[in-house]
Amino acid sequence: MPALFCPGSAAFTPPLFGAFGKKTKDLFKKKFDFEHQLKVVNNNADAKNIETSVVFPTDKQVRGVFKSSIPVSNLAQANGVFETEFHTVADKESKTSYKFTNLFNGGFVKLGVTSVKADAKNDTADFPEYVHNNKPLSLARAIILSKRFVRGRAIAAS
């Protein structure tokens, strides 16, 4: 932890560069949620943290957000935290990662995958996507196609 509000010796751990001035920035950003939202937070005693929200923006489609942080404690040296954040729209960055917290003292190593926010409206999702007949396959289209496939099989079987 950075030595905020801890008067003391000359030796202290500096904050990360990204956290310089963060307390002030948080004062202007945090709690100012200008979108209606319903959130359910679940913090377990064993530090599992799951957060699900539905956001109702006034000018965009309703979106869902899922965040989780699950500690892994039975892998000895590979112990760590599995973290995910998923959004149901492409213009928000979804990510998932595993943080190895037990490899060395004073730090961690994190491996992850991050989507890139869609730049334009109507852009497709940024995760690896399945292409069917040269069209990116959305979840809704995948369901329709799979229903057609199953129906076709059933007719062929009869």
């Binding site: 905020l4 100012f32 004073g106 730090g107 491996l111 992850g112 890139v116 995760f127």
Partner: protein
Amino acid sequence: MFSCCRGYATVEAEYQQEYVSGNASVRTNGQKTLVDAVLAVGYDKLSVGGKVVVDAASKQAPQDYNFGAEYAGADYIAAAVTEKKRSVLSLSYFQRVSKTHTVGAQATFGLVKPSRALQFGTDYEVDRDTTVRASARVESGKDTTVVATAVEHKLSNPRVLLGVAAEFNISPNNVTAGRMGITATLGDF
């Protein structure tokens, strides 16, 4: 078949010890590989640091590089940081006035394109269950001041954290309502 993803795979390492903290990460999407290196050194409440982002495939100058310093006193924090390839300088100050009250201010100066912005904020804990937060932002070239307020209140039965945030655009002639949002948080907030 799977098309190439535009997302990034990342490897990141972070290290924090007395006097030094740092972070290095590599992000790649198959076409572009970005290397971030962040280092801060500190002594006696003063920290100085910088961040550089390099495209591994390019021999050109780093994509982004910034520097900054922060001084963390007993109940205040002052910071000066550059942003966006050193084209913006941001000065910020945070003060804990009392156990329940904090204030902060930030001044932003455009170093390439002349621009200035000033922002004030305050957070006050009215009681154990209620906090009020407000901020105001003034920008050069704009005649409106944006004032934002947020109130959070914890209900005990049912256990819900309610939040209401609203934004107002104040100009010399009139006051117009901006964005607003209502948040309800259930569970272990």
